[in-house]
C-alpha cells in the first residue's frame, strides 16, 4: 500500500470529466510532480487531495486512511497556494504560527518552532515583518514555512514557483529540493513547467485531458516516453513515420522510410506496439549525430548558442528536423546519423 493513493478518482463540474479515473500512488518521502498543460486537471486533482473539492467517484487514501469524507481542516495535508495566500493582516511570525493554534503550545515552544521554521526557509529575523513588505520570493518562503510547520504527511504545492521571475525560480528550485530532503515530508507538486518537474522530482506523472499518460522517473520520461504526447511535451523531439516489420526477443525491426531499415532494442519500444503497426520513431535533437555517416540533409537555419549550436535541417527536400551539436559543420550540406539505441518507438496516436 502506497503512502498517498488515488484510486479511480473522477471529477466533473457539470460538463466533461476534468479528472477522469485517475490512479496514482506516491511513496512516503517522495518528491512527486503532476505535470501537464493548463486545464489538464492537475490542480483539480490536487484540490481533491487537499479536500477543497470532492471526487465524484474513486477514493483518496493517505497513510492508510480514506480521506474522501474528511474536511480540509482535518486532513494531514497542507498546501502552498499558487497565490501564496499569505494572511495580509498578520506578520510573518503570526502567518507561520497560524496553523499551530490547535496544538496549544506554551509560548516559548511555539516561538522555538516558528523560529526553527524561519531558519529552514532562510527568513531568520524577519518574523516581525508585515505581510505587505515581503518580496515575491519571501512570500513563497512564508507560504512554505506556514505549511511545513504543521508537519503534514503530504505537502501539496500548486505551481509554487510560477509567480517568480526566472532567476529566482531557479534558485528556489534548488532550495525547494534541499528543504524537501531536510524535512523528509512527501511533496506533491503541480506544475506546467516540464523543466521544473524534471529537475525537482523523483517521479513525474504526465497528465492531459484529465488522464494520466505516463508515470515514471524524469530520466525514463525523457528517454522512453510511452506516447507521442509525452514525447512532445517533455523537451524537443523529432518524429518519423515508420512501420514495424518484425519483433524478435530483444530487438524490433522497423521500416523507417528515409532512415531505411532500423533495428532498435525493444526497451525503446512502447509496450502497446505489435508487429505490422504503423508507428512514430522519435529522436531527441542532441542524439542526432551531425556529421556522422547516414542521411544527407540541408541546413535551413543554424543558431549558435555558445557551447552548442542548434540546426534546422531538411532531409530529402521536405522533412524538417532539429539537431543540436557541439561543433558547427561548414557549408549547407550535412550528413546526419541516427544511432539506433537512441531511437524511440511510440504509437501514432
Amino acid at each position: 500500500m502506497s503512502f498517498l493513493a488515488v484510486s479511480k478518482v473522477s471529477k466533473s463540474f457539470g460538463g466533461p470529466a476534468i479528472v477522469d479515473a485517475v490512479d496514482l500512488s506516491v511513496e512516503r518521502g517522495a518528491f512527486f510532480a503532476l505535470l501537464g498543460p493548463s486545464g489538464c486537471g492537475k490542480t483539480t486533482l490536487l484540490r481533491m487531495i487537499a479536500g477543497f473539492e470532492t471526487p465524484d467517484s474513486g477514493t483518496i487514501t493517505i497513510d492508510g486512511a480514506v480521506m474522501n469524507a474528511v474536511p480540509p481542516n482535518l486532513r494531514p495535508t497542507n498546501m502552498v497556494f499558487q497565490s501564496y495566500a499569505i494572511f495580509p493582516h498578520l506578520n510573518v511570525f503570526d502567518n507561520i504560527a497560524y496553523g499551530l493554534r490547535k496544538l496549544r503550545l506554551p509560548g516559548d515552544e511555539l516561538r522555538r518552532r516558528v523560529e526553527a521554521m524561519l531558519a529552514t526557509v532562510r527568513l531568520e529575523g524577519l518574523g516581525g515583518r508585515a505581510a505587505d513588505q515581503l518580496s515575491g520570493g519571501q512570500r513563497q518562503r512564508v507560504a512554505l514555512a506556514r505549511a511545513l510547520v504543521r508537519q503534514p504527511k503530504v505537502l501539496l504545492l500548486d505551481e509554487p514557483l510560477g509567480a517568480l521571475d526566472k532567476r529566482l525560480r531557479e534558485t528556489m528550485q534548488i532550495e525547494l529540493r534541499a528543504i524537501q530532503r531536510k524535512v523528509g515530508i512527501t511533496f506533491l507538486l503541480v506544475t506546467h513547467d516540464q523543466e521544473e518537474a524534471l529537475s525537482l522530482s523523483d517521479r513525474v506523472a504526465v497528465m492531459s485531458g484529465g488522464r494520466i499518460l505516463q508515470i515514471a522517473s524524469p530520466r525514463e520520461l525523457y528517454e522512453r516516453p510511452n506516447c507521442r504526447e509525452v514525447a512532445d511535451f517533455i523537451g524537443e523531439i523529432n518524429f518519423f513515420h515508420a512501420t514495424v516489420k518484425g519483433m524478435s526477443d530483444g530487438n524490433v525491426t522497423v521500416n523507417a522510410g528515409l532512415l531505411g531499415i532500423v533495428t532498435l532494442p525493444s526497451a525503446n519500444v512502447a509496450p502497446s506496439i505489435t508487429a505490422g503497426d504503423h508507428i512514430l520513431l522519435a529522436i531527441r535533437p542532441e542524439h542526432i549525430r551531425v556529421g556522422g555517416q547516414g542521411v544527407a540533409g540541408e541546413i535551413v537555419t543554424a543558431t549558435f548558442l555558445g557551447e552548442r549550436s542548434h540546426f534546422h535541417v531538411k532531409i530529402a527536400g521536405r522533412t524538417e528536423l532539429v539537431a543540436v551539436s557541439g561543433q558547427a559543420p561548414s557549408g549547407k550540406d550535412v550528413m546526419l546519423a541516427f544511432p539506433a539505441e537512441k531511437l524511440i518507438a511510440v504509437p501514432t496516436l
Partner: protein, 262 residues
C-alpha cells in the same frame, strides 16, 4: 519656483473649497442676530438656544433613521458585494448598474417619485418611509466600499485557513472578519452620514416627523432663529467631518498592494 506656484494654487483651491463652509462656525459664535461683518463679539448663547424640544426630537428622528439606514444598507451591500465578487453571475454588470443608478438620479426626482409611490400605495408618510428612501441612496455607497474590500481579498485566504486546520467559524473569525471589518465600519459611517445629511427625500417623505435637515429648513423662515441654525450646522459639520475622516482612514487601512501572482 514652479513648486511655489503650485503651492499658491493649492492654497487658493483649499480656500475656495473651505472658506464658505467656515463662515458657518464663524457666525455661530458672533454676538449678533444679523449675519453681517464686522463681527460684534464672542458668544455661545446660540449654542444654548439648541436646548429646544422640537430640535431634539428632530435629532432623535435623524439618528434613528440614520442608524437603521446604515445597518440595513450595509447588510444589503455586504450580501450584494459578496455575490458579485465571489460568484460568476449572469447579468452581474446589469445588476451593479441598477443598484448604482440612484446615485445618478436627481434626489428631487427620487423624492417626488417616492412621494407618489407612497401616496398611491396608501402608506402614511413617516420615518419608515424616509428610511426606505435613504436605503436607495445608501446601498450604492455601501456596495462601492465593500466591493473594493472584497476585491482586495484573495479567495484562497479562506481556503488557506481551512487548510491550516481551522473550521468555518474560526476562519470567519480569524481571517474574513478582520479583513472585512474596516470595510464594514467604513460603510456604516458613510451610509449613516449620507442618511443623516439627506434633505430632499426626507422633506417629501417625513410628513409630520421632521428629521434634522428638514427641521433646519423649517427654521430658516424665522430670521431670529438663523444664528441658532448656524450653531446647529456647525455641530453637524464637525461631526460629519470626524465621521468621514474616520471612515476614509478605515477604508484604506490594510488595503494592500497587489499580490504577487494573484
Amino acid at each position: 519656483m514652479k513648486n511655489r506656484t503650485l503651492l499658491v494654487y493649492a492654497c487658493f483651491y483649499l480656500a475656495f473649497l473651505y472658506l464658505p463652509v467656515l463662515v458657518l462656525p464663524l457666525f455661530s459664535f458672533n454676538n449678533s442676530a444679523f449675519i453681517a461683518f464686522p463681527l460684534t463679539g464672542f458668544t455661545t448663547r446660540w449654542y444654548g438656544a439648541l436646548a429646544d424640544s422640537a430640535l431634539q426630537q428632530a435629532l432623535v428622528n435623524s439618528l434613528r433613521v440614520g442608524i437603521a439606514a446604515a445597518l440595513l444598507s450595509t447588510l444589503l451591500g455586504l450580501l450584494a458585494a459578496k455575490a458579485v465578487t465571489r460568484y460568476r453571475l449572469k447579468g452581474r454588470n446589469a445588476a451593479l448598474g441598477l443598484i448604482s443608478l440612484p446615485l445618478f438620479i436627481p434626489d428631487i426626482v427620487l423624492g417626488i417619485s417616492l412621494l407618489l409611490l407612497v401616496g398611491t400605495m396608501g402608506l402614511p408618510l413617516s420615518l419608515v418611509a424616509v428610511m426606505l428612501g435613504h436605503l436607495l441612496i445608501c446601498v450604492p455607497f455601501s456596495l462601492a466600499v465593500l466591493i473594493a474590500r472584497f476585491e482586495g481579498f484573495d479567495r484562497n485566504l479562506e481556503e488557506a485557513s481551512a487548510d491550516l486546520g481551522e473550521d468555518g467559524w474560526m476562519t470567519f473569525w480569524r481571517v474574513t472578519c478582520p479583513l472585512m471589518l474596516p470595510g464594514i465600519v467604513a460603510s456604516l459611517l458613510l451610509t449613516f452620514i449620507t442618511s443623516f445629511d439627506e434633505f430632499l427625500v426626507a422633506y417629501f417623505l417625513s410628513g409630520t416627523e421632521a428629521t434634522l435637515p428638514v427641521y433646519i429648513w423649517s427654521q430658516l423662515r424665522f430670521p431670529a432663529r438663523l444664528p441658532m441654525v448656524l450653531a446647529l450646522g456647525t455641530i453637524i459639520l464637525a461631526v460629519s467631518v470626524v465621521l468621514v475622516v474616520l471612515a476614509e482612514k478605515l477604508r484604506n487601512q490594510g488595503v494592500k498592494k497587489p499580490m504577487v501572482g494573484a
